[in-house]
Symmetry: C2
């Protein structure tokens, strides 16, 4: 399972994402993506770290990648979870400000950042796609900001579960938590204990069900959950 990494890449590129329509709408970009090399990641393995030179842009193929920032006191603030189809590594600077780490086994497709950017300089269509891609990313970040800014832990968890449902697609009544409680906690600005307690509370309210060692969550009452999220 963890055999041959085509490890031509050590520590690379910058962070960002959200481009699920690139697959459908992007012609040239999608082509380049397809031809790029694949890198396999174990759980907790880094795609890149803060401060590394921004050489590549990645697209998530499988699994979930946590995009985060490290605070001076060692705490970790997760900015976003990147899902298959999402781009990570876009950005303006020469080195990246965020780190990217797999929350579970994952695969990313990597290709040159400078190639992409120089191409965009002459191709308005591509540049516009990048623009709209980042716009969506921005919107997602704002939604998270709204959720985290909310007072209660219930509100945050409810927002989080609904956001996952939107990304995850698949079964509309089931979401898979392909990350640890600590990852969720670092995303929502809570502690592991509060995350766990709040999930239990939601379960007691008959709003959700938690199964399979806490990784699969069934949404039993989505209207109620939406109400609780206060979106």
């Amino acid at each position: 399972m963890l055999a041959s990494h085509p490890l031509e890449i050590g520590h690379l590129v910058v962070p960002q994402r959200r481009t699920q329509e690139h697959a459908t709408s992007g012609g040239d970009l999608a082509e380049r993506m397809r031809s790029a090399s694949i890198r396999k990641l174990e759980s907790k393995e880094h795609v890149f770290c803060e401060g590394d030179p921004r050489i590549h842009v990645f697209q998530v193929e499988e699994g979930v990648i946590a995009i985060y920032k490290t605070l001076s006191d060692g705490r970790r603030r997760i900015i976003d979870f990147a899902y298959p189809g999402d781009l990570i590594g876009l950005g303006a600077g020469k080195e990246h400000i965020l780190s990217a780490q797999a929350t579970c086994q994952a695969k990313v497709r990597c290709h040159s950042a400078v190639a992409l950017e120089s191409l965009a300089e002459s191709d308005a269509g591509l540049a516009l796609k990048l623009y709209k891609s980042v716009c969506q990313e921005l919107e997602a970040t704002r939604d998270l900001l709204v959720a985290v800014g909310q007072r209660g832990a219930v509100e945050r968890l409810a927002s989080f579960l609904l956001a996952l449902r939107r990304k995850d697609a698949r079964d509309p009544d089931t979401v898979t938590l392909a990350m640890r409680r600590s990852d969720i906690a670092d995303l929502l600005g809570l502690t592991i204990e509060t995350v766990s307690r709040t999930l239990s509370k939601l379960r007691a309210m008959r709003v959700i069900d938690v199964e399979q060692g806490g990784t699969t969550v069934t949404l039993r009452d989505i209207p109620r959950l939406t109400e609780l999220s206060n979106a």
Copy 2:
């Protein structure tokens, strides 16, 4: 002072910002900006609201504009404060998702959104500028997310003051709070009382000074403030 509004615009466009280098680097865009009409705003007056059709893009000329989202329970979550030079109203959708409201007397320059976007479709340079503009905006939103995700009120206020210092430019040791305590509270996810109390605490710590009816803040110990912000 509040005489003739060239009020060809009622409720308009979408939200976003951060483009302070457009003035220096943007040729065509800067030109169009210059020729567009100016709209004056009283404190608390809206530039546009959630749900309004996205017709114009605005650039702040004077004052501060709060970009916010309204929650279902009536609470208000401020996403960002737009300062002179910042763009608000960029976005992909046909109507905007956020509201924009002046926190004090302000002026904005407005011009057509469709014109800007159609121009970007053929001009890769302009599209790239928009892209980089949104990248910066995204970065700012992430920073806010980090700050809001932090535990303590002191950390949040410290981050906020330092962010203001970066935007405000001018005197590096002085920031002007051109907004009410309630605006700051809604940005940081705190209450007015906590904002006030925390400012008092920082003053007692000799880290800042508050003057002129609480609108002018002098940063006495920036290293300490940075330390407290935990960035």
